[in-house]
Symmetry: C2
């Protein structure tokens, strides 16, 4: 966390100085905005939190509900999401209040007496150690609270606009704010009144029954039939020994439960399978009472019993696997002629079961993918073409999610005797651990992901996958840190220069690269970021040396890695790292000791892997992504 | 963090439900209070934060200043303090914003050219790994903010009463609230008005010129002469390579600097030695300007230069090593006849240099020691005799601190050529690392620390020293945790039962001990805590088994380790642990595998080590500490 460099900060350094549109932010929704986000669920809130970091962008997020969500449905938080929370600054706090999943237990009918369940296996969560972050369970409402805090403490001082419902939108194609959105007030003295807002861009994060989706003519394709689950968050006294462990429970009668302990040490959630919903059900399944769900749970848990003392929440949950074919308003035949103005994200694009604990996580990655791209375009950094990559990147991820979830749901609903192999369920869980942890996403080569020609130089940083952290030592203060945790959600690109072997100051490929970065007209720094590369810039450029930190002379490190910052032109010492001999990042991530450039996108995905000498390729990679800045005309 | 067990908690679980005196807390200072604390520095605020946890106790903390401290002098945070912050719930947040010290560099005159300094050594901070917590630098104002937050979120909803200055006190010896304190308003419309408050107890945490100390007739003995330091918090551009590393710098001219990087990545503090203050100085040293301090720093740093861009704060700091002989109002000849009513803590008791970064830390441990004792007496749990242990325990700690600081200050002020050994300074630093980290305190046997007869059963838990954490696995949810981090600042005693070898449910010393705890009239649980031992109780009783967690059948664990809690009588599963095979606590802490009881005080100091069979000794240990509760007469 860097602060004090613009003068002494006495209070919480997490509170950023108000700036730009945050200086006199109107309480009422303005007539025109840069971005209007519909819906304050995880997809909408992360998009808003990301955009709130940009003082020049007016973003508003509207919500039909009159206020904060009190109790949320979703609760599964993958390691990838916790990693994302770290970038937004609240991982350590949400970890402290969440339930942490470290193991999953599998219960099945006792072969000797199929009326009784027995524990047949325990599986370690994340056995391969794919992330240094934990797998958590915490109420979605708390996740939203933390994103709301990020927005409130940002330079733009954003808060959600509650009590406004989406009614419709039309892209007029006219003017700077072509999208005309009609909202209606759902509360207060003016309840029912319509409000019209004109936006440059609209994000529909308005859930499974998305009005924005309908307005742009997307349809959801997939299952015809729904599957029903009774779900309850309860406090209970039980003799079931794994009540504080995540469990998949299959009974001899064919019933099954997904059991999820919740935060706080006492509450737990059970998903009780209610089967496929018949075509002529006409909503009958929704009449299932919580007592019926509890009775069914007791049958499945036999010989154990569940004495429910308090029901915090329950619902009957009907779901189908469905997906839209596009995440924006550009029809297939328009792809070459225009760029999108309206986007959809989260449940508005993909619905599926809650079984794999994926929904909130994939939705947040939708928003994380979209937020910085909107910011790049709205701040004039990038051409509008950037926006086409959102649907192109996220729709296939949603497709993969739905396929995974189908397989997992089907397996969970299969009677043990019908499985090909008695351990099929736990084998599937263990073998696919990377998927539920959120790390299977790999964007293919595109405008934003370079060619894999040089992948062999950094085998631990697969192109298009998220940049995986590793320990390093910060040279200036000998602090052991996680390199990936220095990548905050500030919309900047990261360029990591992994040095070749010579010491700092000696002739080296690194020294040549540093010199090119600073001086060449082709350097992305020179071409696109003439204001420098501190916090407000486009790039955060770091170097990692192979030498132990105490053998490095920081005075001889190239200046591009010790940039000047703030009104006092201070030296930023926090960009120079050394490998940690106890866990050498060069070994851990398969980095070539001849030196490597790794470029990472603002959403933490690896964009390019190049040798230190590949300045031409690096320049060419950035060329279509950035716009040459328009400089103010000289007054001389 | 446990919550939801009294019903669903939708908002931040750190916000405790208001209760007792917090339900309608008056904004104005009441006429009578249980505890009046004077001064909102670290000693006062930790005492207030501890007392705020008890709904039945009315505590007020008054401060002469009109509001929150904006910039504080102290900034060194020992690992022991971070451990204490963890117990109060804010360690992870303060760590995230602090500077972390991992190494210290030593600079001396270059033997080849004594006009130039060179780095002669680097020392690892905490080389022995005495704590899992880091050594930090963070502004005292932020520490106070966090304690204020703890108070505000507590059941009593405490906030400091600013703008009230201490004028005097008298112990009238009359009534329930015998101490009459006179305050004066320092701000607002009624500025200058006197306010009289009657208190059961008064804590003077009002600094080096303490009025409370004068009122109870304590004097400060110690050095006659003062030593002066110029101290500045600045932003600068420099070529000194260790500007982000803590340094002790001695120049050839005899000057010396203690250099401390500060939080935020840019600010740093330098203490520049200005020498002993002459008897006839008459305040001349205080006229030293910041430019003079900067010039002196540049001389000492030669050949490096310091281009100061911004001065956040500076001061000339004169200090003597001084100490009071008692920390309360009981004169030596009254020790057998009465218990204290007025206490002093922190700088009111001990002044010394800032060199060893000790002041704020020792002051907070003063308050942590006192807070729970006041709470025990005020809630009727303990006899007033408990209060006599505060001065008895803390005065010797302050004495040791002052001796340590004298030695360190003298060494730092000694010219290199006058040292017996050229590495004397760094050797002293390294060999005494446990002291500055805050872990040398060892309270001798007393009412609150048992006899060392059985110390051999748990060599890693020295009696009277702080309970050192170690990793364990929580059985119910297979979570890897630090056992010590489960000890929150809630005023409860911890009884750890380290099990003997038999499995849960088998005949064992542990099973016999558990049975005795639950049923014997001599058991402290039965005798003193009839209301049970959940959050509101006196004890938090945990068991640690030797078996791996997945070989333990939690259904067979004795009930005393699975207590019922809250209005729904739920089972608390968070008291049953297993050794972590990757770091076995029995091996790490030298715990006898025949089973051991370790009793830990509410302030985290080890009070007793006993075999599992020593029920008589355990009962005898607690007997003088607790009062048999007065039960309401039966209405039958």
């Amino acid at each position: 966390m860097q602060f004090h460099h613009e003068g002494y900060v006495s209070t919480d350094p997490r509170i950023k100085a108000a700036a730009g549109v945050g200086l006199d932010r109107p309480a009422e929704l303005p007539d025109t905005v840069d971005v209007l986000i519909v819906g304050t669920g995880p997809a909408g809130m992360i998009t808003a939190a990301q955009l709130s970091q940009f003082p020049s962008i007016t973003t508003r997020i509207v919500e039909r509900r009159g206020g904060r969500l009190a109790i949320g449905q979703a609760d599964g938080i993958q390691a990838r999401s916790v990693e994302t929370f770290q970038a937004f600054g609240f991982a350590e706090r949400i970890i402290a209040e969440a339930y942490r999943i470290t193991e999953m237990a599998f219960w099945k009918p006792d072969p000797a007496d199929p009326t009784r369940i027995i524990r047949t296996a325990r599986a370690i969560d994340d056995p391969a150690g794919v992330s240094e972050f934990p797998h958590l369970i915490v109420n979605q409402a708390r996740v939203l609270d933390y994103f709301a805090e990020v927005m409130a403490l940002s330079p733009t001082r954003m808060t959600p606009d509650y009590g406004l419902e989406f009614r419709g939108l039309v892209n007029t194609g006219v003017g700077e704010h072509p999208v005309e959105v009609t909202l209606a007030r759902t509360a207060g003295e003016r309840e029912g009144d319509e409000v019209v807002v004109r936006a440059k861009y609209v994000v529909g994060a308005d859930g499974a029954r998305s009005g924005v989706r309908s307005a742009i003519g997307c349809t959801m394709a997939g299952d015809q039939a729904f599957h029903a689950w009774g779900v309850m968050d309860v406090l209970a006294v039980t003799d079931f020994p794994d009540i504080r462990t995540k469990c998949a429970i299959q009974s001899g009668s064919g019933g099954n439960i997904l059991h999820i302990p919740r935060e706080g040490g006492h509450l737990f959630r059970m998903y009780v399978d209610l089967g496929e919903v018949a075509a002529d059900d006409n909503g009958a399944v929704r009449l299932t009472t919580v007592d019926q769900i509890i009775d069914r749970a007791n049958e499945i848990l036999h010989p154990y019993t569940l004495d429910v003392k308090n029901v915090a929440w329950h619902s009957v949950y009907e779901v189908a696997h469905r997906l839209t074919d596009r995440f924006d308003d550009v029809l297939p035949d328009e792809l070459d002629t225009r760029t999108p103005r309206v986007f959809i994200a989260g449940d508005a694009c993909h619905t599926h079961s809650a079984k794999a604990g994926q929904g909130m996580n994939v939705s947040m990655q939708d928003g994380f993918n979209l937020g910085w791209k909107l910011a790049h375009v709205l701040t004039g950094r990038s051409p509008e073409a950037l926006l086409g990559t959102y649907s192109a990147e996220r729709q296939p991820v949603a497709k993969a999610l739905i396929e995974f979830d189908k397989e997992w749901s089907t397996l969970m609903a299969t009677r043990p005797e019908d499985l090909d192999d008695p351990t099929e369920l736990e084998d599937f869980y263990t073998s696919t651990a990377e998927f539920p942890a959120g790390f299977m996403t790999q964007y293919p080569p595109s405008l934003l992901v370079g060619s894999p020609n040089h992948q062999g130089l950094a085998t631990g940083y697969p192109l298009g996958k998220r940049f995986r952290s590793a320990p390093v030592i910060r040279v200036a203060d000998a602090n052991p840190l996680e390199l990936g945790h220095q990548h905050l959600a500030d919309g900047r690109w990261r360029i990591y220069a992994f040095a070749d072997a010579p010491a700092a100051g000696e002739p080296s490929a690194l020294a040549d690269f540093a010199s090119w970065l600073t001086t060449s007209a082709d350097s992305p720094l020179v071409a696109f970021s003439p204001e420098g590369h501190d916090e407000g810039g486009l790039f955060d450029i770091k170097v990692v040396y192979q030498q132990p930190h105490d053998e490095l002379d920081i005075r001889r490190v190239p200046e591009v890695f010790l940039p000047r910052t703030g009104p006092f032109d201070l030296i930023d010492y926090e960009k120079v790292f050394a490998a940690d001999p106890r866990a050498d990042i060069f070994d851990l991530r398969g980095i070539d000791r001849g030196g490597v450039i790794v470029v990472v996108r603002p959403d933490q995905y690896v964009a390019s892997v190049l040798p230190l000498t590949a300045t031409v390729e690096l320049a060419r990679f950035f060329e279509p992504i950035f716009t040459v800045p328009v400089l103010a005309p000289s007054l001389g």
